[in-house]
């Protein structure tokens, strides 16, 4: 097996260029690549498109500022494609002020659109959103009397994901609910950078129990 480069968070962040579509793993503060997010804030890169489950939890009073919230505050995104922004008032503010475009996507549709991108599908037919604002501008297809929306693949330029364990080849194992969007984003982006809590030797992971095969991963960053 080929070993993947182990790089710093700053080196990783430097691969994200203005205009890029960036997929960030995690779910309301669980399983986010925190060191990569921090490095991307430090890089000062702007004009990005975010694909994530949410924009993190930002609560100044309680001192919570997780997930992509630091990037939201840094105004890194021109477009924000997520399922939920209710825990980050700053996202709401930017949306209302017209500072960024927020596209709300049902969570299951978001997951399937990311998976479709990584799996070579043009899109999928889902019943979710039929009869709601979500169907606007989309093709509706009726199969056996049931309506479905055609939802198209959502690929990215760079995926910033978080794993519990990576072997040096890039095989990944996630922990509990910190798995969430990370494995599907790993399939869907040109460049995949994983922040791993532990980096182990090739052969230490059970081949029946690898969540993300090594071939999807380009770079490994040691989590802090």
């Amino acid at each position: 097996m080929i070993e993947k480069p182990v790089i710093s968070a700053a080196e990783a962040a430097a691969m994200v260029k203005p205009g890029h579509v960036v997929h960030i793993g995690g779910f309301l503060g669980c399983g986010n690549p925190d060191a990569l997010v921090a490095a991307l804030v430090d890089s000062g890169t702007k004009n990005l498109t975010l694909v994530c489950n949410d924009t993190g939890i930002y609560n100044e009073a309680k001192g919570i500022d997780n997930g992509p919230a630091p990037l939201i505050r840094a105004k890194a995104f021109k477009t924000i494609i997520v399922s939920h922004i209710g825990t980050n008032p700053e996202t709401q503010r930017q949306m209302n002020a017209g500072e960024s475009e927020v596209v709300l996507v049902p969570q299951g549709t978001l997951a399937e659109r990311i998976r479709a991108a990584g799996n070579g599908l043009g899109g999928i037919l889902t019943p979710t959103g039929v009869g709601t604002e979500v169907e606007e501008g989309k093709q509706k297809i009726t199969l056996k009397g049931k309506d479905f929306l055609l939802e198209v693949a959502l690929p990215g330029d760079v995926a910033l994901i978080k794993a519990k364990r990576a072997d040096k080849a890039g095989n990944l194992v996630y922990s509990k609910t910190a798995r969430n969007f990370n494995p599907i984003m790993a399939t869907a982006c040109q460049t995949v950078i994983v922040e791993a809590e532990e980096i182990v030797e090739i052969g230490e992971l059970d081949p029946d129990q690898v969540h993300t095969p090594s071939i999807f991963v380009d770079f490994i960053v040691q989590a802090e």
Binding site: I114, T132, T177
Partner: protein, 220 residues
């Protein structure tokens, strides 16, 4: 004269009675989460959490939180023995694929056509739909849990939702703190009422078509 007093507990207690052992249930954040506390003894339901968990357990004791183990609200939880974890595509495959028996969620409005609205007040508050649209479109039975009246005194049960819909024609059951309704054929069918409220009071205090079911009785 009956005075309306909010009572979330009765809502949670009644909803918990719908379940039988083996049912897979997804409970939304807030009031729906309370339902878990009222599942009768001897009934074992399996709680699904859409962030990627089957077999959701109670909150951990203080100091025993695991940063990698949260619910769909990002709060620390535990997993029961025999539970398991999966990614978001699988989680919503379970939901959309009809493998969840009941989804329980809160509403801003629900109407007699089975429409519900709970993710957006245009120009005011837009939290986003999160997993709600998939849960409502995919679960076998959709139960909405809501206090009956707004602070203004209008009921949350409507003839027609005014807010953007979370899903169209998907609500099966509405449980408020005054009674339990089946939703079909363009009406809320009152099946059970909760004292001190009476069917008459409920019909009068609901801004929609309420049909009192012939077998309607008082739930205790």
């Amino acid at each position: 004269m009956i005075e309306y007093v909010e009572n979330k507990q009765i809502i949670a207690r009644r909803i918990a009675r719908f379940f039988k052992s083996g049912d897979v249930v997804n409970l939304g954040i807030g009031l729906p989460t309370m339902v878990g506390n009222f599942v009768p003894e001897g009934v074992t339901v399996i709680l699904q959490s859409e962030n990627g968990l089957m077999g959701l357990g109670p909150a951990p004791e203080k100091g025993h939180e695991d940063k990698d183990l949260t619910n769909a609200g990002g709060m620390p939880v535990t997993v029961l023995t025999g539970g398991c974890f999966f990614d978001s595509a699988t989680s919503f495959g379970i939901i959309r694929g009809g493998h969840v028996d009941f989804t329980v969620l809160g509403v801003l409005e629900v109407d007699q056509e089975g429409n519900l609205a709970n993710y957006k007040i245009p120009g005011k508050m837009v939290p986003g739909m999160g997993g709600a649209m998939d849960l409502v479109a995919g679960s076998k039975k959709v139960i909405t849990a809501t206090t009956h009246l707004e602070k203004s005194g209008t009921s949350k049960l409507r003839t027609r939702c005014a807010l953007p819909l979370t899903a169209a024609h998907e609500v099966d059951i509405v449980v408020t703190d005054v009674g339990y309704f089946d939703v079909h054929d363009g009406a809320f069918h009152l099946r059970e009422y909760f004292a001190p409220y009476t069917p008459e009071w409920i019909v009068e205090h609901t801004n929609a078509t309420v049909v009192v079911d012939p077998g309607c009785f008082e739930f205790a």
